[in-house]
Symmetry: C3
Subunit: 139 residues, 3 copies
């Protein structure tokens, strides 16, 4: 069995953003030498997501508005987590909706994807350095 | 290490439906010959889900109503994604709530499940051919 | 390839609770002898979650309030699932928001975590015995 580990690093200048990381994950799969296996991609921070969906700007605007409706940032005083001095309680909720991680099949040395699947890093509390973990196992 | 790959195909006549695919996944596990490992089951399309829950008709009605409340289909013009000519922005949101994939343990050659766990394909934008990927690795 | 399986058991006296299970999962990783691989942790019951987030009491209060807003327990008669004699339809929904499972990388014999990642069992319909499955594969 082979295994391969790589970190991706992000420093998003805004509070929230969606970044397409498909090519970086595909490159990790190539480096791993794994032909058949599984590829885990997860946010290492708890106010960020990794998810798979469409690379379409309008959809990302919709996601942002929708998540803000389901878990509004303001007023920050509505959240007990923010009593600790943070203002990111909403980011912990948005991340639960969008998910921490994806697991993707590796087949014949490539990410085994449907026609529109793209991997995104979802940042909900940016303006600091954060990491994503790629772990690949297989043969 | 063994690996096994299979696609399941669906063409749901309605916009939305939940379909129990547990037996098809269990059959894939048997064919794989894997005794100990992991089984990934994921929607290959971004307006559909694979999730694990109860095979109970009333619950599925509740899910449908609840998802429609959290991410309504109408009015379609509320979503920027639909400016592209699509009318399925809501389906991209419903799929995030219900999830893209499940990972199930394989133990002694079988899906290692609790008493009520069943695997479902959740369709949120049907009336076309769609696929689910089953990927099994182990020994 | 090595594989290891362990069940964790919970009997939560309240309807809802969040329990930090990180140390129990870390102990399973040590017992497994796996140095490089993947660790699946999933609820075996369909009204419970396993998720990764922060071990902060205020945040857990926020999660509880937020989930109750998105999928209220009362009135129980609003859910068709509860026509079966159950009163836990809301728990099936809360579990979908928070997720069934996490997959964590195992690197150098340890859970490969970011600085604040902790694994939680989320109970949404307690007062009975329930189980969590830990399955580890790798080398």
């Amino acid at each position: 069995m082979k295994s391969y580990r790589q970190e991706l690093t992000f420093e998003v200048p805004a509070r929230r953003a969606f970044i397409n990381i498909t090519e970086q994950v595909a490159e990790a799969v190539r480096r791993s030498g794994v032909r058949e296996g599984l590829c885990l991609v997860n946010a290492m921070h708890i106010t960020a997501s990794v998810f798979i969906n469409d690379d379409e700007r309008g959809l990302h605007q919709d996601y942002d508005k929708w998540l803000e409706k389901l878990a509004p940032h303001e007023p920050v005083a509505q959240y007990r987590h923010n009593d600790t001095g943070e203002d990111n309680a909403d980011a912990h909720m948005k991340r639960q909706i969008m998910g921490r991680e994806v697991v993707v099949a590796v087949t014949k040395g490539r990410l085994d994807f449907g026609p529109w699947e793209q991997i995104f890093y979802g940042e909900f509390d940016g303006r600091r350095r954060k990491r994503v973990l790629v772990k690949i196992i297989g043969e």
